[in-house]
């Protein structure tokens, strides 16, 4: 017990929490944006992988870090466009299309990485973002700060601007949005592209900030956890931030406990925790979850 307390008061622990939380914050925000517009985006895992690979590859090829980040976001938006075109105007199953986008994003990333670096046994590295020169847990990289700023921005856009209201409306009742002169297709595609860009940022954070190289399987289910976190957050940006932080606390804690109690339990038990916690979170909120009403319901204009 005292060991846990010791961990909780150490600055290093909270530094780790904020670092671990960053990709979850970005990924959850991205998924939230898509789902608020009524589109479930299960492409998230593949989009994060592509973002991780594309951002890293751009920097590895000589671009500066921020260009790499932008390039990752651009690639994410492109995959988002693919998902959106298939699910919005064509109205295909959001589940299966999302899985397809994930398979495509992942395989394309691996293909390109292998093509450029055919026989790299130890992955080459780049110089990643450095933490800002601030005391204690505030010593984070600019991408972490960007992620937290984006929470505020997304919340502001959703609740205080006309375009945010349009996004919420197409997610609740597309027919009503259409009757008010909005283009449901346009708003949904835009929201999915923006959300997918955020997911790709989450991936780029892994290769350009948390680590300095690209590994196979490096996203490792983080995308799926974000999908669960969106439900847990009841589709609200503020709660998404809270959920991601809470999650990161548990994750950082299990990493520390693994070191402390490693001899007692196999490390895999600790590694399972994030996934089991996500499932638990889903079960806890399932009863009172208030989904965007039009989530996963394709909208075809004028269909009888």
């Amino acid at each position: 017990m005292t060991e846990i307390l010791d961990i909780l008061v150490s600055a290093a622990f909270w530094t780790a929490v904020l670092r671990i939380a960053t990709p979850y914050v970005l990924g959850t925000l991205g998924e939230l944006l898509c789902e608020r517009a009524g589109v479930l985006n299960l492409g998230i895992e593949g989009i994060m992988t592509l973002g991780a690979m594309a951002g890293w590859m751009a920097v590895y090829q000589g671009a500066d870090l921020w260009t790499g980040v932008l390039f990752a976001a651009f690639c994410g938006a492109l995959l988002g466009l693919l998902h959106a075109v298939l699910t919005v105007p064509l109205g295909l199953s959001q589940h299966v299309t999302g899985i397809g986008v994930t398979l495509l994003g992942t395989s394309l990333s691996y293909f390109v990485y292998r093509l450029v670096l055919p026989q790299a046994s130890t992955p080459p590295t780049v110089t990643p973002f450095q933490p800002l020169d601030l005391p204690g847990a505030l010593a984070q990289t600019p991408l972490t700060y960007l992620a937290f700023a984006l929470v505020g921005l997304v919340a502001y856009v959703l609740y205080r601007t006309p375009v945010g209201l349009a996004v919420r409306m197409v997610g609740e009742n597309p027919a009503a949005a259409e009757a008010q002169g909005l283009s449901v297709t346009g708003v949904r595609i835009g929201a999915v592209m923006a959300g997918s860009a955020l997911m790709a940022l989450a991936g780029a954070f892994l290769t350009l900030s948390a680590f300095n190289a690209f590994f196979f399987n490096m996203v490792n289910g983080r995308g799926w956890i974000c999908v669960a976190l969106v439900v847990f957050a009841s589709w609200r940006p503020g709660k998404a931030l809270l959920g991601a932080l809470l999650f990161a606390v548990f994750d950082a804690l299990q990493l520390r406990l693994q070191q402390v109690a490693g001899g007692v339990l196999p490390y895999q038990v600790f590694l399972m925790m994030p996934y089991l916690l996500s499932i638990l979170a889903l079960v806890l909120v399932a009863r009172r979850a208030s989904y965007p009403r039009a989530l996963m319901v394709p909208y075809r204009k004028g269909e009888r």
């Binding site: 109205g91 899985i99 691996y110 055919p118």
Partner: protein
């Protein structure tokens, strides 16, 4: 331009849709191959040769198709009932786990009893793994996509834990792998001196059996009704929750059987790389087959051919073998569009 539902999709269109999708996917991936600088036609030539060009290649493709038929059936059965089981990968490993535990000397039975017992145990393990998410879905309304996906990671960690612990092979020179199964539990080979094993016969038999159940029995009738309109099925008096759970057991069971069959027929022991994503590829197989049990066989053969052929191709030219995964993913997306065009027609205005 708008989409207008067709009143009836002619059989020719239904059969043509996957062919068109595959052609489109091959064309799209040709761009990718051209980008690597390799000659496209020669690359595809090598791929086809590597998949079906020799007796060896053919048996390799059939061997690779065996688990894909089973995971494809797993996905098809579940998707028919709108149960989005994306956890076949985890269920496959649970089935494999059950197979090495029971087949590794725990049961002392003659071959003709041991093999079915171990395979049934593999099915049970896979089925129970999906039962959890299915119960969460029917009782609490928890989306099964996310829970089954997350369980894949949990299962892999569980397998990893056991392979480094209780199930670790003492003779494995420190590798995380299980002890080999009892020779009496091994599936017989279908063709001597190849890797092709009796798992294929089991998979083919099940495909036919599922097709008969689907079209001829009240089970299939209920499944189709629940898949197409659960509300109307419940209103008419069908036990929808039970049908869902039954479907979950069957779907997970088929995936679990894929794992058991790989262990008993091919590998003989369990490692963490038993499946190169058979669970996920099964989804593509099912979609290409338009969820038809017999179509699954054809689709699985095709996907297996791509994987086996791409390995051969990437040995001969500088195209990474991940091209197979890209091709499979592209086929899935193209198939979704082709399926749409088969059900709808494009109209102006």
């Amino acid at each position: 331009m708008r989409l207008e539902p067709r009143n009836d999709t002619p059989l020719a269109v239904r059969l043509l849709a996957p062919v068109a999708a595959v052609v489109a996917a091959l064309a799209l991936c040709a761009l990718l191959i051209a980008w690597t600088g390799a000659p496209v036609l020669r690359a595809y030539g090598l791929l086809i040769e590597g998949a079906v060009g020799s007796r060896f290649a053919l048996t390799e493709t059939l061997t690779r198709a065996t688990p894909l038929i089973l995971t494809g059936l797993a996905a098809a059965v579940a998707f028919r009932a709108k149960l989005w089981n994306i956890g076949a990968e985890g269920q496959l490993y649970m089935g494999a786990l059950a197979a090495v535990v029971l087949g590794g000397g725990m049961l002392n039975l003659p071959s003709w009893l041991l093999i079915p017992a171990v395979m049934l145990a593999g099915m049970a393990a896979g089925g129970v793994t999906l039962l959890g998410p299915a119960v969460l879905k029917t009782r609490f309304g928890v989306d099964e996509v996310v829970t089954t996906l997350l369980l894949n990671f949990v299962v892999l960690l569980l397998v990893s834990m056991l392979l480094e612990g209780a199930l670790k092979d003492p003779m494995g020179m420190g590798w995380p792998q299980s002890a080999p199964v009892d020779p009496a539990a091994e599936l017989p080979k279908l063709v001597e001196r190849t890797r092709l094993h009796a798992g294929l016969a089991v998979a083919l038999g099940l495909a036919v059996l599922l097709w008969l159940i689907d079209t001829r029995t009240i089970w299939g009738y209920e499944n189709r009704a629940v898949g197409a309109n659960p509300r109307a099925a419940a209103f008419a008096g069908m036990p929808v929750s039970w049908i869902m759970l039954r479907t979950a057991l069957l779907s997970g069971g088929l995936a679990g059987l894929a794992g058991a069959s790989e262990v008993l027929g091919l590998k003989g022991y369990l490692t963490l790389d038993l499946s190169p994503g058979f669970g996920y590829s099964g989804i593509v197989v099912a979609m290409l087959a338009q969820l038809h049990p017999l179509g699954v066989v054809g689709a699985a053969l095709f996907i297996a051919g791509i994987f086996v052929g791409a390995d051969a191709m990437s040995r001969a030219m500088p195209v990474p073998n991940y091209i197979a995964d890209v091709l499979v993913a592209t086929s899935l997306l193209c198939m979704l569009v082709a399926g749409l065009l088969a059900r709808y027609r494009l109209r102006r205005g």
